[in-house]
C-alpha cells in the first residue's frame, strides 16, 4: 500500500497543465488566415470548410494527446499534426469517390500515439457497443414517432458521414471530452462532478457545431441524447480505464443519427 511505503504525493497538477498553447494559437491563426482568404475570394469555400474542420478537430484531438502524454513524451505540437492529418483525410474525402476511407487513418494514428486508449476487454467493448446501439435505436424510434423522421434510403451513401464521424467528429470529441477532460477532472473530483463537467462541455461543443440543424426540437433532442451519451461514456471510461468502449458507443450512436438524415 503506497500510503504506507511512499511519501505523500504533490497532488495532481493544474487541470490545464501541459496545454499545447503555441500549437493551438498557430491553428487559430491558420484558420483565421484561410477564412480571410476565402472572404477575399482567394480560396474556395470548400477549402475554408476543410480548414475549419482541421482546426477544430485537430485542436481537440491534439490537446487530448498533449494532456494524456506520458512524462517522457513531448506532444506539444500534436494539434498541428492532427490538423494536418484531418486536412489530408478531409481533402481525400472531397476529391475521391471512396476518399472517405482516408478518415480511417486518423484514429489509426491517434491510437498508435496513445495505445492506452485502446486497451480494453471484450466485455468493455461489447458494453459500449450495446449502449450506443440502445441509445441510437431509441433515437431512431423517438425521432420517427415524434418528428416523423424515417430511416434514410439508401443508407450506403452515408459512407462519407460515417467516415467523418469515425475519423474526426467522434474521435476528437471522445478523445478530448472523455479521454482527456473527464479523466483529468476525475483525478481531482468525484465521478458525478467530473462527468457533469465533461458532459456539459461536450454538449456545448455540439450545440455550437455549425453542422447541427438549428430547429428547436433538434437542439433539444441533441442536448438530451448527447447528455445521455456523454454521461454513459464517462461511466464507461471510469469503469474500464479505456477510451475504446466510449468510441464504440458514440460511433454507433452517430451512425444511427446519420440514418435519420438530419443534416
Amino acid at each position: 500500500v503506497d500510503a504506507l511505503e511512499q511519501p505523500l504525493g504533490a497532488g495532481p497538477p493544474p487541470i490545464l497543465d501541459t496545454s499545447p498553447l503555441p500549437a493551438l494559437a498557430a491553428l487559430a491563426l491558420g484558420w483565421t488566415a484561410v477564412v480571410a482568404l476565402a472572404a477575399a475570394g482567394l480560396v474556395t469555400p470548400v477549402a475554408a470548410d476543410v480548414a475549419g474542420l482541421a482546426a477544430a478537430h485537430g485542436a481537440l484531438l491534439g490537446t487530448a494527446l498533449a494532456w494524456t502524454a506520458p512524462p517522457e513524451t513531448d506532444d506539444r505540437w500534436a494539434p498541428l499534426e492532427a490538423a494536418a492529418l484531418v486536412t489530408v483525410a478531409a481533402t481525400w474525402a472531397q476529391v475521391a469517390v471512396a476518399g472517405w476511407l482516408a478518415w480511417a487513418a486518423v484514429p489509426a494514428w491517434a491510437l498508435l500515439r496513445r495505445p492506452a486508449w485502446a486497451r480494453t476487454s471484450v466485455a468493455g467493448l461489447a458494453g459500449g457497443a450495446v449502449f450506443g446501439l440502445l441509445l441510437g435505436g431509441h433515437l431512431l424510434v423517438t425521432a420517427a414517432l415524434t418528428l416523423g423522421h424515417g430511416v434514410r434510403e439508401p443508407a450506403l451513401d452515408l459512407g462519407p458521414w460515417w467516415g467523418y464521424d469515425v475519423g474526426a467528429n467522434v474521435l476528437a470529441a471522445e478523445a478530448f471530452f472523455r479521454g482527456a477532460l473527464f479523466t483529468r477532472a476525475h483525478r481531482r473530483w468525484t465521478f458525478p462532478l467530473a462527468a457533469a463537467a465533461a458532459t456539459a462541455a461536450s454538449v456545448a461543443r455540439y450545440l455550437v457545431d455549425p453542422l447541427l440543424p438549428r430547429a428547436v426540437e433538434m437542439i433539444a433532442g441533441a442536448a438530451f441524447y448527447l447528455a445521455l451519451l456523454g454521461a454513459g461514456n464517462c461511466w464507461l471510461v471510469a469503469r474500464t480505464g479505456s477510451l475504446l468502449p466510449a468510441l464504440a458507443a458514440s460511433t454507433l450512436f452517430f451512425a444511427a443519427y446519420r440514418l435519420l438524415g438530419a443534416r
Binding site: 500510503a3 504506507l4 511512499q6 431509441h138 415524434t146
Partner: protein, 489 residues
C-alpha cells in the same frame, strides 16, 4: 433472475401501454414503478438505470403527443410520469443503498472486532483486520499501529517517514489524495487515524480505483475510532490475561515454596531432635556412669573430656538455633567487633580441626601482611570452622582440604578466604540454594549428619559483617567456598 424479471416487466408494461388507446394518459404507465422499485431494492444505486430505461421506454408515447397536441392534460400527466419514475427510482435506490451501506458497516465493525479478538500478537491481529477490511472496502487496505518503539504493519513492509500514514500517526489530520498516481484510472487514497482516549495509536489507509465519497470517508473515520477502541480493549485484555497468568505463577511458586519449607521444617525437627539427642544421650550415659561407679582418675578425666566435647557440641547446636531464630525474625546476629588478625584466626581454627579430624590433609596458605578485619572474632571463628568442617564432611577421607587467605580484588580493601575440597561438588541447580535455612541438597541427607543450618548461619554472619560468600564447583571435582570481608583501610 432479477435482471430477467426486470427486463420482462419493462417489456410487458411497454406492450400494455402500446396496446392501450389512452396514449400518454394510459394507466399502465404506473406499472413502470414495479420494475423500478424491484431494481432499486435489488441493486441499490444501479437500480436508477432501470428508472432511466423506463423513462426512455415511456418517452416515445409522450413526446409525439406533445409534438402533435401541445401540453394537454394527458400529455402533462405523461410528462409528470417522467419525474415520478426518476424521483421514485432515485429515492428507492438511495434509501436502499444507504440501508445496505449501514448494514455493511455494522457487519464490518463486528468482523473487525472478531478479527482483533483472535489469537496471536498485534501483527497477526492487524493482518486479520486488513484481510477482513480489503474485500469489504473494495480496495487495498494498509494498517500501521505503534507498538512500543516500532510499527506493527499490515498491507506493507514498513512505514516511510514522509508517507501519509506517518503524517496521520504523528497527529496530522485525516489525509485524502484524489489521485495517488499510476494507472489509467484515478486511484483514491484516504488515511484516517486509529485513535483511542484522545491518543493516536496508528492509521488506517484505503487505496481504491474509484471514488471514496464523503459519507464513506465519514464512515472510515468512525471505523478508525472503533478500531482504536477495539485495539485498546484487546491490548487491555491481553495485559489483564498476562497479569493474571503472572499472578497465578507467583501464587503457585509461593505455594510450592511454603510446602517445601514445611517439608524442610519437618525434616529439620527430626534431624534437630536426633542432633540434640546424641550429645544428651552421651552426657546422660557418662554422668550416670560417674555417679554409680568408681573410675580411675585417668578414666574420669577421659570421660570428662568426652562430656565436655558433647556439651560444646550441644552448645553449638543451641547457638545455631538461636541464630536461626534471629535470622527468621529478620534480625542480624549480635556482633562484638574488634580488630582481628585473619591469618592467626584461620590458623587457629584449622589447627583445632586438624587435631579433631585426622582423616583429611589440610593445606593452609595465608598471604603475608594481610590487613586486619573489624569483625567479631567468635563469629568469624564459627564461619571458618563451619566452612572447613563442611569441606571435611562432604569430601572422602584422605582427600585434601585447602584453606587460603589473601587480599581480595581492590578497592576497597577486602580479605578473601577460600575453602576448597575434593568432594563430589554441588549440583548446579542447588548452588544458589545451599545458603537457605533447612535446605539440604538432595542425596546429602544420608551422606552426612546436619540440620541444614550451618551455611544459613554462615551467610547471616557474613552479611552482618558486610561481606559476601559464594559457592561454586571446581574442575574437575570439588567445591570452592569464597568468603570476602571488608578490611580496615
Amino acid at each position: 433472475v432479477t435482471g430477467a424479471a426486470v427486463a420482462l416487466l419493462l417489456a410487458a408494461v411497454t406492450l400494455a401501454v402500446a396496446q392501450s388507446d389512452a396514449g400518454p394518459a394510459s394507466l399502465w404507465r404506473h406499472a413502470y414503478h414495479a420494475p423500478v422499485a424491484l431494481a432499486a431494492v435489488r441493486w441499490g444505486g444501479r437500480g436508477l438505470l432501470v428508472a432511466l430505461a423506463a423513462v426512455l421506454l415511456w418517452a416515445p408515447f409522450v413526446l409525439p403527443a406533445l409534438e402533435r397536441s401541445g401540453p394537454t392534460p394527458e400529455v402533462l400527466e405523461g410528462l409528470a410520469t417522467f419525474g415520478f419514475l426518476l424521483g421514485s427510482g432515485a429515492l428507492s435506490a438511495t434509501l436502499t443503498s444507504r440501508a445496505r451501506r449501514q448494514g455493511a458497516r455494522y457487519e464490518t465493525l463486528v468482523a473487525v472486532g472478531r478479527a482483533i479478538g483472535g489469537a496471536g500478537g498485534l501483527d497477526a491481529a492487524l493482518d486479520r483486520v486488513g484481510a477482513c477490511l480489503a474485500p469489504r472496502l473494495g480496495g487495498a487496505v494498509g494498517l500501521a499501529v505503534r507498538d512500543g518503539g516500532r510499527f506493527a504493519v499490515a498491507g506493507g513492509v514498513a512505514v516511510h517517514p514522509d508517507s501519509p500514514v506517518a503524517r496521520v500517526v504523528a497527529g496530522g489530520p485525516p489525509c485524502f489524495e484524489s489521485d495517488a498516481g499510476g494507472g489509467p484510472r484515478p486511484r483514491r487514497l484516504f488515511v484516517v487515524p486509529i485513535s483511542a482516549a484522545g491518543a493516536t495509536l496508528g492509521a488506517l489507509a484505503l487505496e481504491r480505483e474509484g471514488d471514496i465519497a464523503g459519507d464513506e470517508r465519514a464512515a472510515l473515520l468512525a471505523l478508525g475510532a472503533h478500531l482504536g477502541l477495539a485495539l485498546e480493549h484487546a491490548r487491555l485484555g491481553a495485559r489483564q490475561r498476562r497479569f493474571a497468568a503472572e499472578l497465578a505463577g507467583k501464587v503457585a511458586e509461593a505455594t510450592r515454596r511454603v510446602v517445601e519449607m514445611d517439608r524442610m521444617k519437618s525434616d529439620f525437627v527430626a534431624v534437630a531432635s536426633h542432633e540434640l539427642r546424641t550429645p544428651l544421650t552421651a552426657l546422660q550415659g557418662f554422668s550416670e556412669l560417674l555417679a554409680t561407679r568408681r573410675f580411675a582418675p585417668s578414666e574420669v578425666a577421659r570421660l570428662g573430656a568426652i562430656m565436655a566435647g558433647e556439651t560444646e557440641r550441644l552448645g553449638r547446636i543451641v547457638s545455631d538455633f538461636l541464630d536461626l531464630a534471629r535470622l527468621e525474625r529478620g534480625l542480624a546476629p549480635p556482633l562484638r567487633r574488634r580488630q582481628v588478625d585473619v591469618g592467626a584466626l584461620v590458623g587457629d581454627a584449622v589447627e583445632v580441626l586438624r587435631r579433631a579430624r585426622s582423616t583429611h590433609r589440610f593445606d593452609v596458605e595465608c598471604a603475608g601482611a594481610l590487613p586486619p578485619l573489624e569483625a567479631d572474632p567468635d563469629a568469624l571463628d564459627r564461619v571458618v570452622k563451619n566452612l572447613v568442617a563442611n569441606a571435611v564432611k562432604y569430601s572422602p577421607p584422605g582427600s585434601r582440604v585447602a584453606i587460603r587467605a589473601g587480599r581480595g580484588p581492590a578497592p576497597p580493601p577486602t580479605v578473601e578466604i577460600v575453602v576448597e575440597d575434593e568432594g563430589p561438588g554441588i549440583a548446579e541447580a542447588d548452588l544458589a540454594r545451599v545458603f537457605e535455612p533447612y535446605y539440604r541438597a538432595p542425596g546429602t541427607a544420608g551422606a552426612a549428619v546436619g540440620a541444614g543450618l550451618g551455611l544459613a548461619v554462615v551467610k547471616s554472619l557474613v552479611d552482618a559483617h558486610g561481606g559476601t560468600i559464594r559457592a561454586e564447583n571446581r574442575a574437575p571435582r570439588g567445591t570452592r567456598m569464597t568468603l570476602t570481608l571488608p578490611a580496615v583501610s
